[in-house]
Symmetry: C2
């Protein structure tokens, strides 16, 4: 009886601080999930370690993985590929270990189509929390500025609706702690544990003489 | 912009230890939800305080509340009524404060029909966690005993499927902590926060010249 691990997708708008919060989460040992290292075709920078910061691969190798259906998600950005190799994710989940992905929004939407029962966590900018104040402004903002703010907020909310949880990145340690709490609580969800109980009963019936 | 509080329904099979875990949860100040005191027609026992342990009411008063639709849920047990008065729950939720109910399974199913977006937490007996061992037994159990165990487990699982979370009461402090984590995480669920953001935007549009 080994449950499959949870796939945790941690994402949010560009520039929200996903990497910083992820580093904070993994800086302490009080978590049981593993980080899935992304793959990229961009050049390795000084100090970066292959297999730790990224898996650095050639464009040819990356494209072959795409062709063979070996990428859980990927995107091209400024001429380079970034993505999540499927093998590590599947092998780790099969061992009953949760896998944590930190990926861009487009990638998260790809994962949602393939693994709908993953846990989708959206990191929101602190200003989304201060939305009301910002929208109202200081009374000196032009209608154009206000309209732009509303449009930006609307886009962020549209993205958020695809996710299970929204966590505000107001302070990095707080945001990291909330992410850990959410992952812990997800393990208690009935739809995640009930199958195990049902299996035990049916196994018992089958194997019992 | 005041969000309504969450209604938290804490329940589980008879004898699982709901009251003990609830007392543990409320024994420390690190929670923000309030306990909804139940109402009963049974006699007040020595040491019990009206309005703290229960609201002690006459059968006539209780039945009038039922007739007036003033009970969120109720059940009759050994000739006495037990139930949750609606007024306190609604007033507290309206203030933006979460309300914690500790009630029997029949009551929880009544609440589920009326307030489907409440958070339903099922406390499971530790032996449900040890189900496999128990079902297999010591090799000395009769088929009848094993069949009875399987039937009991099946009933418990059928109840559990109506809930959002299943928490094992293996050790009371651990179970209490898990309940608190689940309630905390629920506040980050997108479907609970997204309405607030949407409201801000539409309010802004309406009030802005």
């Amino acid at each position: 009886m080994s449950d499959r691990g949870l796939l945790i997708v941690f994402s949010g708008p560009s520039g929200v601080g996903k990497g910083t919060v992820r580093q904070e989460i993994f800086s302490t040992p009080d978590h049981k999930f593993e980080y899935s290292v992304s793959m990229t075709t961009r050049a390795q920078r000084p100090g970066e370690v292959d297999g730790k910061d990224y898996f650095f691969r050639s464009r040819e190798e990356f494209e072959e993985l795409i062709r063979n259906g070996q990428m859980l998600e990927y995107a091209e950005y400024v001429g380079n590929y970034y993505g999540t190799p499927l093998t590590y994710v599947n092998e780790t989940l099969d061992k009953g270990i949760d896998v944590f992905l930190e990926i861009e929004v487009q990638g998260a939407l790809q994962v949602k189509k393939k693994v709908p029962d993953a846990v989708f966590i959206f990191l929101t900018p602190p200003d989304l929390n201060e939305l009301q104040e910002r929208l109202v402004g200081r009374g000196t903002d032009s209608e154009e500025v206000i309209a732009k703010r509303i449009e930006r907020a609307r886009e962020e909310i549209a993205l958020m609706s695809e996710y299970d949880y929204a966590i505000v990145n107001d302070e990095v340690p707080l945001a990291a702690e909330r992410v850990k709490r959410v992952i812990e609580a997800e393990h208690f969800r009935v739809d995640r544990v009930i199958g195990r109980y049902r299996n035990m009963i049916s196994e018992k019936k089958l194997s019992d003489k």
